[in-house]
Symmetry: C2
Subunit: 542 residues, 2 copies
């Protein structure tokens, strides 16, 4: 026999989860006490939203994470983060406390309750791949193990709700449970193999387009092995930026339709055989409909299917379809890889007295960062601008590029800081997004993390202005660089010209005790070249 | 014919809604443009959470409000505020943009989408009393009018989702639509009348316990009329604090079980006939199970039933059951009201060099506020402490005392400021809650509001410490009084003793251009008497 809380803690530790994000509340306090007494570290944030984004980031970087909140007022604050985790394929284990079974009989109206007791369960069942209420001592252990299993298999969030009088209840220690792992359908796989090899044999110009699933399922080494053997050039989607080192000799750039780099787009689109490996055909990945890729060019390796010439071979798992590539022996010795040109930073020299622009900021940052940095990027022009920044290390760049929720980056730094204590953290965030969750710098400080936060300050919702402008895109222009005075720690710089930017980054680089915040002030209507293109596309969709 | 966006705007203006809270996003931008060109004022907040709390507050104070957000990343951020609005009976009209019907055919994976296109609709259907997707030109007008009708009738939030290519679509101007209003069941009402009058005739000692529904349905004048005629003493629940003026001669105090004022509790509980008018029997209202009220004493006037001696007369609407009281002619001329003692502020004189405590802070505030103040109160010890502060004006005090979500008060001030431009705003908030949404001071400043914000700084989650303490109750100790330096406006005071408090409040009182923030520093383990009692009760529930 053991205590339910112990089992929750044990299964998380066994799977290498070392931290729990959340905010305590009375329906989950007894579990918080148990967490504090365990080897898991609690990272309690200013607001549950911050914990939610941090847990999503942690799960994407580490393969599993835990988010722990109270009932109602806690859980409903992380709905957006869990929706994001689902969209971005991020295995977050959400544990919510709930009113005790006993007290529900005492009173129909308990604080933090909205509508009915099971409303919260119903809502999270819509947004997770597994959900359970731990209200049955007979099945609680099984539910906990099932939740972990589903999260890790499907890379989606799961939901466990525990009435507070159950956290310390006794349950039977579960034996080793066997879960049926999905398998490829043999017939389908054989047919797919034949079609794939025929397709490869007849290809004139081939390339790889790497997507998010390669990172989520850790297939990078396997992909690089056969790409190298076959001499295949590698592009990545926006969402999968930094899935492999962007200084790898085979790497040719981040594909984003025709929004930005025409050369990269032309190179990829000139291929007659594009092996799309775990890439998601989202509107952002396809450059807001500017992409000219068509189904005849694409061979789509999805997580559980392979699509060749528009024919879908279903129940073919990614691990098996990739193995087909590993096993493939080309008729000609190697493919031609004519456009291999890894991203490199162009030389940046600060010009005296020149007003900052978004484009020059990122030219400078491209030169500044090295393999020791982990980059957490919010959405908006910071994301568009950073796509061409070279990331020397694998998985060095993280952003919610599909779901595109503002306010992700500062809290995400909590995850990176917890996982990689020896790395430097670079947070790229617009002023609008910073006003949403930027105060989690407070939490970063509490846990001894010293990020460099670059606030791209274009005085409001810069991404929306070129789509549809109005007073509603204005926000108060904070003196972001004076945040140290409120928090009593850190250093801040107001950056209005390039010389100041270089100086501030140099000061940030040597400051490892507390955060550095750069308030980089650019003109209100200054946009990166990519944003200009993208806004035109988005305006047409209004 | 008219444009859908015009109809939305028209019905809101017709119902006296003057402001819309939200954050713009591309799926709702065309509607934001239409709003900007209308007579509605957009109040765009730092984060959608702030807009959600503000909209809840506005609806409670004004009878209807509008919250307008983008799909996914916007809407999912306000789930908690909508859950709160449902719990607290607050008629918020939530309008969410959504991907256009046309573009859904172009691409399966559009940014901001999680799970399926209808997931968001399903989720909000759980948390609202009416929900619709405006995807059908034939029924859109009807859906909009139905939503408003339901919100106003049931005092609950409603949900309207509009694909972005429908906002500017043409619809037929709706004629006057008739909605069937619920009615009391005649048989039930007659039986209830008989039982009620028999009950009143035999009562020896009667009193009124006022609840939230009296405020929501605006029955205050009617209640005061018959209470005065019959000489009935009036108590209010915690949730309904300030439902009538607390200096009314009949007012006897806020009932909170036996958590705090024993005299008030004894007075009410000594009655053999307690007319509970629209009071909700929640755990907080009942003083966390410390209440000794029993069903034999209570006559419960609910929004659609009347309960006498444990017998429920269903389908008896509150308006009709209250009319029974208005029509009632007592056998004896008037009731005895022996314990009428309206709340009054006790004289507060600052003592030199005395460290601040929570109790003394509220003694001082009790003396400070007058009828010109609107008080927005967060949850935690600020709520418990303020229950005995006398509110000279009706509806002067607002707090989410049932749902008890942290972070409500600062954003709620946006609603009060918009509705009552001539009132002063007093925000009472703990340091923990302030770290969640306090930065909406930025929005208050943008819209020319000048609240006085009192941060009760007990260095962390003071309400939780006596229930279950741990490091997880610690937060960074911000220099809250230095916020003016970050925002570039306002004034701040660090308050460590009583003389400083009096000085700071005097300075705040004369400052009407920008906010004043008081960082009131009390010892970490200082608690109000009520919190001590309450924590003991809550600890037992762990």
């Amino acid at each position: 026999m053991m205590i339910l809380a112990e089992l929750l803690i044990e299964v998380l530790l066994q799977r290498n989860v070392g931290h729990v994000f959340g905010v305590p509340g009375d329906f989950v306090l007894s579990f918080y006490k148990a967490l504090e007494d365990s080897d898991l570290e609690i990272i309690n944030t200013c607001d549950e939203q911050g914990a939610g984004f941090a847990a999503d980031a942690y799960a994407r970087m580490h393969g599993l994470s835990c988010l722990c909140v109270t009932y109602g007022v806690g859980a409903y604050k992380v709905v957006n983060a869990i929706a994001e985790a689902y969209a971005e394929k991020s295995p977050v284990v959400l544990i919510s406390g709930a009113p005790g079974l006993f007290e529900r009989e005492q009173c129909e109206m308990i604080h933090h309750k909205s509508v009915a007791y099971d409303t919260q369960f119903k809502i999270f069942s819509e947004l997770t791949c597994y959900s359970a209420v731990l209200d049955n001592p007979e099945t609680n252990a099984q539910a906990i193990l099932s939740a972990i299993y589903h999260a890790m298999l499907y890379k989606r969030p799961v939901y466990l709700e525990c009435p507070r009088d159950m956290f310390l209840s006794k349950i039977k220690r579960p034996g080793s449970m066997t879960f049926k792992r999905p398998k490829s359908k043999t017939v389908s796989l054989l047919a797919a193999k034949k079609a794939l090899y025929r397709r490869l044999d007849s290809a004139k110009k081939s390339a790889i387009l790497l997507g998010t699933d390669i990172q989520r399922y850790s297939f990078q080494d396997q992909v690089l092995a056969f790409a190298t053997r076959l001499g295949l050039p590698i592009f990545s989607t926006i969402m999968a930026k930094s899935v492999i080192s962007e200084q790898h000799p085979l790497f040719c750039g981040v594909y984003q339709g025709h929004l930005a780099d025409e050369e990269i787009a032309d190179d990829l689109e000139s291929c007659d055989c594009i092996l799309s490996l775990g890439a998601w055909m989202s509107d952002v990945n396809l450059g807001i409909y500017s992409s000219k890729l068509n189904q005849k060019q694409l061979v789509e390796f999805n997580s559980d299917s392979l699509v060749i010439d528009g024919h879908c071979y279903d129940t073919v798992l990614l691990e098996d379809s990739l193995s087909l590539l590993s096993d493939y022996q080309p008729k000609t010795p190697v493919f031609e890889s004519s456009f291999s040109k890894p991203l490199t930073s162009r030389g940046f020299v600060a010009e005296e007295g020149v007003e900052m622009t978004t484009q020059r900021l990122f030219a400078c940052l491209s030169q500044f960062i090295d393999g020791n940095y982990c980059v957490l990027c919010d959405v908006g022009d910071v994301l568009f601008s950073s796509l061409s920044m070279p990331m020397p290390e694998r998985s060095q760049f993280l952003s919610p590029a599909y779901y595109t929720s503002m306010g992700f980056a500062v809290p995400a730094a909590l995850a990176a800081g917890a996982l990689y204590p020896n790395k430097r953290l670079l947070v790229l965030v617009g002023d609008g997004a910073f006003q949403m969750t930027g105060m989690e710098l407070s939490t970063l400080q509490r846990f001894g993390m010293a990020p460099i936060v670059v606030v791209l300050n274009n005085q409001g919702y810069g991404t929306e202005r070129p789509i549809q402008d109005g007073k509603f895109n204005d926000i108060l222009n904070w003196d972001y660089h004076r945040l140290p005075e409120l928090l009593g720690c850190g250093q801040g710089f107001l950056v209005k010209d390039e010389a100041r930017l270089v100086h501030a980054l140099a000061m940030a680089d040597i400051s490892t005790d507390s955060f550095t915040i750069l308030n980089v002030s650019v003109p209100k209507h200054d946009h990166s070249p990519l944003l200009k293109q993208l806004a035109a596309g988005l305006h047409d969709q209004l």
